[in-house]
């Protein structure tokens, strides 16, 4: 079992997602804005859960960076949605990679986290381009 580095990577992805949603949220309105706020809180909750797992394993949880470089300038709705999709895809990848290294309830947590990322990515893709395919066959790959 090599769970700790995978959990640290998942935690780092959650930190980045929290920052990212903080940056993109103000560019959305209405239901999307609400969803972004809700999602940011979900990532905060997940961050706390992973940090607790790491402490239980006697590891020091990686801290958040003070700031993150955004992959592209986030101005306007489309860019905000694109960033949201990317954040979910990256977090999904971190959780998918953790799955084989975890067992029992911890693995279930990773599957749940991966699933929720995939569901949110699908919602954001649909918000961005409802007529394009909005799912991927292997989330996290």
């Amino acid at each position: 079992m090599n769970a700790t580095p995978r959990l640290q990577a998942a935690l780092a992805a959650e930190h980045a997602a929290i920052f990212g949603y903080g940056a993109l949220g103000p560019h959305l309105t209405g239901a999307s804005r609400e969803a972004a706020t809700e999602t940011e809180q979900t990532h905060r909750d997940r961050r706390d859960t992973v940090a607790a797992l790491l402490i239980r394993a006697k590891a020091e949880p990686v801290p958040a960076e003070r700031a993150y470089a955004l992959p592209f300038p986030v101005e306007g709705r489309a860019a905000a949605l694109k960033l949201a999709i990317q954040l979910e895809e990256r977090t999904a990848a971190a959780w998918r990679a953790a799955v084989p290294e975890l067992a029992g309830a911890d693995r279930t947590l990773a599957i749940t986290a991966l699933t929720e990322c995939a569901v949110r990515a699908t919602r954001w893709r649909r918000a961005l381009a409802p007529n394009a395919p909005v799912t991927v066959a292997f989330p996290g790959v």
Partner: protein, 164 residues
């Protein structure tokens, strides 16, 4: 136990092959090992992925049926069908070909859920059942297979967004 037997059969087969070469080159007429029954392929053990492969193929068939019955939904359903076809392909690639080749590439007729006004609900139910099955299997398996199964389950949950 069955695994051990299969391995032994495999080993016997390999040795029989080696003995064949020996016989031809040096020991003609004097078999070092019994030739065995001569039937080429040893059997492989059933793979725990097989039921999921069958279920993915049944889902592909269900989507085909739904798309045929409700052309208005085709654009929405086709990408979901493609995801399941990709799942089936990935699962098949991980199953010993001696077993996988026995599973047809298409689900038998009748495997698909019937297309009615509740088609979307029926598909959603099938997606949920499949996702649960993939999760169960994921929790009982190791390595890259576990990651693949987690991805399949996540994908099927994301399909519910489209079917809702």
């Amino acid at each position: 136990m069955t695994k051990l037997l299969a391995r032994r059969r495999l080993l016997t087969g390999a040795l029989a092959g080696a003995a064949g070469v020996l016989t031809a080159t040096a020991l003609s007429g004097c078999g070092l090992l019994p030739d065995g029954d001569g039937a080429g392929t040893p059997e492989a053990d059933p793979d725990p992925l097989e039921p999921l492969l069958t279920a993915e193929l049944a889902l592909v068939a269900s989507y085909d049926q739904a798309i045929a019955a409700l052309p208005a939904l085709a654009a929405r359903l086709r990408p979901l069908r493609a995801d399941h076809a990709a799942h089936a392909q990935a699962l098949r690639a991980r199953i010993d070909p001696r077993r996988a080749d026995a599973i047809p590439t298409k689900a038998p007729p009748g495997a698909a859920a019937s297309a009615t006004s509740s088609t979307l609900a029926a598909l959603a139910k099938a997606e949920r059942v499949n996702a649960d099955g993939a999760i169960k299997l994921c929790l009982a398996t190791e390595g890259e297979r576990a990651a693949l199964l987690a991805s399949i389950a996540a994908c099927e949950s994301s399909h519910l967004v489209v079917l809702a």
